[in-house]
């Protein structure tokens, strides 16, 4: 698989569609799981991912290489997912129960009971905390990298992760 810099070179040489397809192929899986843990339902994840890739395509001409390609792409996808989650919260009075029901009826879920409880606990978090928790706990991303993607200070991210972690730990006390 080509390096990010090689993909950008290809794009700058005029092979824009080919370069974009390489980006999709390189990052689709990683981005899917990143979004899936935030949105939980496959259908929502699919919508978010498609919209994000369209934004990446339209934004590529203005990509200035000031940040890494990976960071730039992650920022677009994360913002799209956050916008979706915020909108979903506004649309429904009790979004938590919807996400829990989606999880109960999810034919693509094959995890254990404690994994299901963990996802339910995550779905109760505010969108930003949910994102921070997912990036740190599941993806084991460094705070510095998260700071660039989320445009938030490392200190604020640490505090946010700590809050989220404590809330989830308390939710899962029954599973000791």
């Amino acid at each position: 698989m080509l390096k990010d810099s090689e993909i950008i070179d290809l794009y700058n040489e005029g092979e824009s569609l080919q370069a974009f397809n390489l980006i999709v192929r390189k990052y689709r899986e990683r981005l899917y799981w990143h979004v899936r843990r935030m949105a939980i339902s496959h259908q929502d994840t699919d919508d978010i991912l498609q919209n994000s890739f369209i934004k990446i395509w339209t934004g590529l001409p203005s990509f200035r290489e000031e940040s890494r390609l990976f960071t730039w792409i992650y920022r677009i996808v994360t913002n799209e997912a956050l916008t979706f989650l915020k909108r979903q919260r506004l649309r429904t009075l009790i979004p938590l129960s919807i996400e829990c029901r989606q999880l109960e009826a999810d034919e693509y879920f094959n995890g254990s009971q404690v994994q299901k409880a963990l996802l339910k606990a995550i779905s109760k978090l505010p969108p930003k905390q949910r994102t921070v928790f997912g990036m740190r706990y599941f993806e084991e991303m460094k705070y510095e990298e998260m700071s660039q993607i989320l445009d938030t200070s490392v200190g604020a991210l640490k505090a946010s992760y700590h809050h989220a972690y404590e809330k989830i730990r308390k939710e899962l006390l029954n599973f000791q």
Partner: protein
């Protein structure tokens, strides 16, 4: 206090989902298809709000114009202290008296001139009508 997120992290961090079969291949195709139709959507997406805005401005203009016109009509009828009914009567009688008159009336333009003219002519029917409407 015990920490399940630490103790069972291996299990908890394992991916609990399966994506639908061939999803990632179909995702690439779906994105490609949307890019192909993207240009058409962009034009429509640009035009729709512009048309909506134009319609809104048109409606506001028409409402404003209508309200202004109604107010002007009302004001022009009452600025001499006459009601709309009285104003109509004055105009009707005026027409009659002007027709009766053999003088050149083309120079009469403003309402003040019209009233002066009637006074000079001493059209009795006008005074009769105004007197009646005042009593009513």
């Amino acid at each position: 206090m015990s920490d399940i997120l630490q103790q069972r992290q291996q299990e908890l961090k394992r991916n609990p989902f399966n994506p639908p079969q061939d999803y990632f291949t179909s995702l690439e195709e779906k994105v490609q298809a949307r890019i192909q139709t993207g240009n058409r959507n962009t034009i429509a997406g640009f035009l729709k709000p512009a048309l909506f805005m134009a319609c809104c401005f048109g409606m506001i203009f028409l409402l404003g114009y209508g309200a202004m016109k109604l107010t002007r009509q009302h004001e022009s009828g009452t600025e001499q202290g006459l009601s709309m009914y009285e104003y109509d009567l004055v105009m009707m009688v005026m027409d009659e008296s002007i027709e009766e008159s053999s003088e050149d009336t083309s120079s009469i333009n403003s309402e003040d001139e019209i009233i002066d003219y009637i006074m000079m002519q001493g059209t009795s029917s006008l005074y009769a009508v105004l007197y009646d409407s005042d009593n009513n």
